[in-house]
């Protein structure tokens, strides 16, 4: 009996042309071709997508939850990046 596990893959689906691929879930498969077929069968049975990306989960590097606040902090006090910061008359269509 094999003790090997099938690796994990993340699945991204483009639901319609013009939209970004969106993460929809994951699955186990031995290679990309299997992952692709499996993704089709699992996630697009009702025509949920027109394009699929599969990516090995181990290839995804994610930011860590614990340092979230420090990591994103520099953006918090820059309110001037938003249009609402500026006082200009509505009717001027700026």
């Amino acid at each position: 009996m094999s003790s090997k596990h099938l690796p994990l893959w993340e699945v991204f689906i483009r639901s319609r042309r013009g939209l970004d691929h969106k993460h929809i879930g994951s699955l186990h498969a031995a290679d990309a071709a299997q992952a692709m077929q499996s993704a089709r069968d699992t996630y697009t049975r009702r025509q949920e997508g027109v394009s699929i990306w599969v990516v090995r989960s181990s290839d995804i590097h994610a930011s860590q939850f614990e340092d979230d606040s420090a990591f994103f902090d520099p953006a918090a006090d820059k309110v001037y990046r938003h249009p609402t910061f500026y006082d200009v008359p509505e009717e001027l269509k700026l």
Binding site: R17, G18, S51, Y80, R81, Y86, V88, K93, L94
Partner: protein, 318 residues
């Protein structure tokens, strides 16, 4: 690419466009569509990047900390816009290095307007108000372009642009309401930036080399003249509101057209600047080249650092 296409590829491509659907990177597309997009998107990217230079000139001399922080944030956004657009172009099979080489060698074009100098602080206001204003008119239209990655980049960029024009207008509004000298400074900036801003939309439709094909493929959704008119209409009202005068004696509301009429554009000047003879063409490219060369050690250091990390990781595993 064209030779390996399935027999019905072209009609499928045309049907997709006709149905207002987007073309995506892995789809078959005519070579000319691809080339046309690469040209337009890379030029657009170069413009975002070179466009940082005239404003960058004033970051260290902004009149207050508030203005400085805002200008810094805006210029940072423009660098990001360059990045989004280069990435969109890369989905078409052209490399970042090729595009950068074309910019630095002077082969590629970028928006001519960035070859004008920023002589006073009011120029920063005029750029935000007029140059970003014109860019936004164009970019809103391009959110509906037929190539998916370009359209998505435009949506993101438009969202970020919304403060650029407002901060510029706010600078002009403040100066125009200030002392006589400040108001004169704002008027002078408007005088110098007005016509180049109108030229940003490109030649008249009848003379535009790429417009017809681009419209047919829905790369462009509105013509140069339509977009220019939209910009004139909205800016005329804004200028009047802050008491500045647009330097065009022929600018006049036309009731029957429902638009502002405006005077003829000096296309000789446009062509001169486009051909490399504007006031700052050489300085802009020289600054870009220097920035690229000065950044070399950073790129080298990034690679060396990654190598070291990798060696350490394998060392630890062994």
């Amino acid at each position: 690419m064209a030779d390996t296409s399935p027999p019905d590829a072209l009609s499928r491509f045309e049907r997709t466009i006709a149905a207002e659907e987007k073309i995506e990177p892995r789809d078959w597309m005519p070579d000319k569509y691809r080339l046309n997009l690469v040209r337009q998107i890379s030029q657009h990217a170069h413009s975002e990047v070179v466009g940082q230079l005239p404003e960058g000139n004033w970051i260290a001399r902004a009149p207050s900390l508030r203005r400085k922080a805002i200008l810094l944030a805006k210029v940072q956004d423009e660098a990001g816009h360059g990045l989004y657009l280069y990435s969109a172009a890369e989905t078409l099979g052209v490399s970042r290095e090729e595009m950068l080489d074309d910019l630095l060698s002077g082969k590629a074009k970028y928006a001519s307007i960035f070859n004008y100098p920023t002589l006073s602080w009011a120029d920063v206001g005029a750029i935000g108000w007029l140059v970003d204003g014109a860019a936004i008119v164009n970019q809103i239209s391009l959110c509906r372009t037929s190539y998916g990655p370009y359209a998505r980049a435009m949506v993101r960029i438009c969202k970020e642009e919304s403060f650029h024009q407002r901060q510029g207008f706010e600078i002009m509004q403040t100066l125009a309401a200030g002392s006589a000298e400040q108001k004169a400074m704002a008027q002078d900036a408007l005088n110098r930036w007005w016509w180049p801003s109108l030229m940003m939309f490109g030649p008249h439709d009848a003379e535009s080399a790429h417009t017809q094909q681009s419209m047919q493929w829905k790369i462009k959704r509105q013509s140069n003249d339509e977009l220019r008119q939209k910009f004139v209409d909205q800016t005329a009202v804004q200028a009047a509101h802050i008491g500045l005068v647009i330097p065009d004696p022929l600018l006049k509301w036309n009731e029957s057209r429902g638009h502002y009429d405006f005077g003829p554009i000096d296309w000789d000047e446009f062509n001169r600047v486009l051909a490399g003879h504007g006031p700052c063409n050489r300085a802009r490219l020289a600054a870009r080249r220097k920035a690229h060369e000065d950044g070399e050690w950073v790129r080298d250091a990034m690679l060396a650092h990654a190598d070291k990390q990798r060696a350490r990781a394998t060392g630890a595993a062994a």
